[in-house]
Subunit: 338 residues, 2 copies
DNA sequence: ATCTGGCACTCACGCACAGCGAGTGCCAGG
DNA sequence: CCTGGCACTCGCTGTGCGTGAGTGCCAGAT
């Protein structure tokens, strides 16, 4: 077990390192923090902390830097979440209030998060499977071609082209549209399959194949792979700390361009509260020297998607967590209003 | 006027420099190209080319590298557009054919372009103002709240929330929807304002305010600022040549994150054919050492938007131009089918 | 037990310096 | 107008050394 003072030393190391980006030595520590002990004592504590794996030396005769494990301890026990200033809160609100549509909300959120945290921001679009249906529209483009438009309560719109096996009349289409909507509007997407299952039965034999085709396209839309979308921003912030990691910025950028990786990154957490994944805790190799701070957001109690930032492990965790949490809260409000 | 051989020397310099990324000297040139003259002669030619501003020396006693003006001449007079191989064409087609919707088409196009050119890809969504209306949908969300959904022939969907001055009945809404669609479907967006101008007159006095509100929201959607959207990809490719420009990658990334800058970048050209803007020809400062290769695409003859790539001025112009042109062509086909 | 001051040691960093080699400009002769 | 020769430039690389921040350890103080 680590004594109180040793934890204090670790906290000081993390704070100084985050601030200066340079390995911190025992002397500098005692000068900048009121630890009430001499450098020699701090050196002993450091030796212990190093044995335990919380800090490390880049080379002999250099100061110490925190390890992933050290940051983990810092985040879990030594630091809280730093609330934003009222001015920042107002700025967030103002910035998000101007959004005209879901794409706009997401785009603005990304920019906002990137600015606020000065890091790379990632925002997931509201998941279809966790939303409810607002409306389903069917448009005849050609005799045997229908466009299916799906609108969710979170403002998301999906469209699919359906090639029907036979021409479909306007009245049939209207009928299908009406029946479909009366069944699914206001229901959760996960319930949709069971709700529409027997729908073809209500139609004349000749239309059943068409109805089935439309329905199966509808169900395909909900398949995981395609239904998840993500927006990314603030990648220029990567260059802020690129001088330390000239080799590392490449794989990071590459990882960030892989939707799948990003989704996993955001998704790998329980719903409650801000999640922090530090360095090697991230499965993806290219992100081994980055941390991810993420949180769910939603119009109600339940999260419909997640958002967060990706930055160097050496980041201001309390501040970042505060910003991420605050932004998520406001985005939730905006979604609830629309 | 430059003699034929001098142009040949310039071409050789550009090709070698693009290939090796190193300043090219007179000796290396004669060894790698059959110019039929000695290094000394080439040196004289180089001196002339330098006087004319087509090439320059990074430092005394180094080889030459092309200037922006040199690349310009190369692109305009010395190089053609390199067609893609059949295999590449097939790959493009296969890759794009799997797209399920417009977002997907754009996303795939970006990835494709980035891979093909190994540079940063930029794709503009089909412009609303150059598309035609496929359908307008009105949904009652609450008594005095309507959702307006706009669908274009290029598959783009825009939605806006409308807060009405008074509650609006379902029949009124249906009436408006029908009248609106009968007037604007199949028409170009630019014509919409004049087509709907007198629409409120057809309604009872009590509904006119509401109808006007809906219509003005519709018209706002077409305003330049918000209607343009863009997708970006392959930024990781920037790091490929970052070792030359460690200072420059930052402003480039920053510029690329500014939608407005990007739009200007793509837009600054006439419609016909592939456009190349080299180095300082780009207005934006951060992009002074990059070139932009762009082209319009569309389902018919006319371009509905543009796409292209951003890369270092030292890029393979013929190959990049070929890839950009080919991709644009296929995207146009895909759009025409949907 | 725990802390402190002192001390010898390590090693990354910065700087000066020298040798190399690719590349140049110029000039005299073919 | 082209070519071979020649002296010169100058960026790059590698070496060597001094400096200083930082460490580990130990003996003595509290």
């Amino acid at each position: 077990m680590l004594s109180e003072r040793r934890l204090e030393v670790l906290r000081a190391i993390v704070q100084d390192y985050v601030g200066t980006e340079e390995p911190v030595g025992s002397k500098a520590l005692t000068e900048r923090h009121r630890l009430g002990v001499s450098p020699a004592t701090v050196r002993n504590d450091m030796a212990v902390l190093e044995d335990e794996g919380f800090i490390q030396q880049p080379h002999t005769s250099a100061g110490r830097i925190p390890t992933d494990k050290g940051y983990r301890l810092f985040v879990d026990r030594l630091a809280g979440v730093k609330p934003l200033s009222p001015a920042e809160r107002r700025a967030i609100q103002n910035f998000l209030d101007g959004a005209v549509d879901l794409d706009d909300v997401v785009a603005r959120t990304v920019r906002l998060l990137a600015q606020l945290t000065r890091q790379v921001a990632v925002v997931q679009y509201p998941s279809l499977t966790r939303s409810t249906v607002r409306h389903v529209e069917l448009l005849a483009l050609a005799p045997a071609r229908v466009m299916l438009v799906l609108i969710t309560d979170t403002g998301r719109v999906e469209q699919r082209l359906v090639d029907c096996p036979a021409p479909v009349g306007e009245t049939t289409l209207a009928d299908l549209r009406a029946r479909l909507n009366s069944r699914v509007v206001g229901r959760r997407f996960t319930d949709v399959p069971s709700l529409v299952q027997d729908l073809p039965d209500a139609f004349e034999h000749e239309d059943r194949a068409t109805v089935s085709t439309v329905l199966s396209t509808l169900l395909e839309t909900l398949v995981e792979e395609t239904e998840e979308r993500i927006m990314l921003g603030g990648t220029a912030n990567l260059t802020r700390f690129a001088h330390d990691f000239p080799l590392t910025i490449r794989p990071v950028l590459e990882a960030l361009e892989e939707q799948v990786v990003l989704l996993k990154l955001l998704g790998e957490a329980k719903d409650a509260g801000v999640t922090v994944r530090i360095g090697h805790e991230n499965a993806h190799e290219g992100l081994n020297s980055t941390s991810v701070v993420a949180v769910g957001y939603g119009s109600g109690d339940e999260a419909v998607a997640r958002l967060g930032v990706v930055g160097p492990t050496r980041m201001d965790y309390p501040g970042t967590m505060g910003a991420v949490r605050a932004v998520a809260r406001y985005v939730g409000q905006i979604l609830a209003e629309s």
